[in-house]
Symmetry: C2
Subunit: 130 residues, 2 copies
Amino acid sequence: MLQNLTIEQLLNYNVVMKPSKTDCYAINPDIIQKIEMSDIDKLLDLAEFFKIMGDGTRVRLLWALEQAEMCVNDLAVLLDMTKSAVSHQLKILRSAKLVKAEKRGKNVYYSLSDNHVKTVLEMALEHINE
Amino acid sequence: MLQNLTIEQLLNYNVVMKPSKTDCYAINPDIIQKIEMSDIDKLLDLAEFFKIMGDGTRVRLLWALEQAEMCVNDLAVLLDMTKSAVSHQLKILRSAKLVKAEKRGKNVYYSLSDNHVKTVLEMALEHINE
DNA sequence: TTGACAGTTGAACGGTTGTTCAATTATAAT
DNA sequence: ATTATAATTGAACAACCGTTCAACTGTCAA
């Protein structure tokens, strides 16, 4: 009678214990209950976005590309890094859709995919400066 | 005659080679020269700030504390983590001045140190949502 | 076709990071 | 005083991350 139910349904029956990692009990259960955590997935996406911005090389790349489109060699010279290291980071920025690439002849020119990134950088800079 | 000069001065004399990591030459030296990289230290501070925000646990802690001050046990139950793990992350948030602690009796209550963090979170959420 | 160069790729290395675990401090209650 | 619990701490561990290195692809010029 219980064997065709989903995990969710079994949880409702208290047949399956949801594994809990906590090693303590709540001090103020009433407060916890009022906390809104439904946007949790968006929060994790948000953390993912911050994680990409949380690297000196990538921030410098974005800052440079905000001023002009550039190819890998130019960026490598500007940041005093190897082509390979720059290319690896550009790949990360591109997979996060923060940067786009365009091949012209022997070179690949990179630029910001939209000016949203620019405003985020500027806002955060203001936040730091105060 | 040269032995009492600073590194900077020696560099001007071309006595010391500034070690370069690049493995290539610039394609467009004119473009590189126009790029403004003087705010580089602020950019790195910025990356440091993003790095702290780039963790799911920390973002969830901030999101929860934005709604109510809470002690470690409550946060551990809410996020389904051990007290220890929560405490470690709170320490990081506190050393970044994003969160402040206040001991009351047996408990330590944490809250956002200012509402600046809240606005940053909201702005970034808007950025994600579009 | 050959050589030179721009760029990419994957493996490997070293450093960093988040969680766990065990031990410890501090406060309150019995 | 003793016990129980909240919280912190440092060491240890595994997973992750950025750079390096070497090999490779693709394009242009001779």
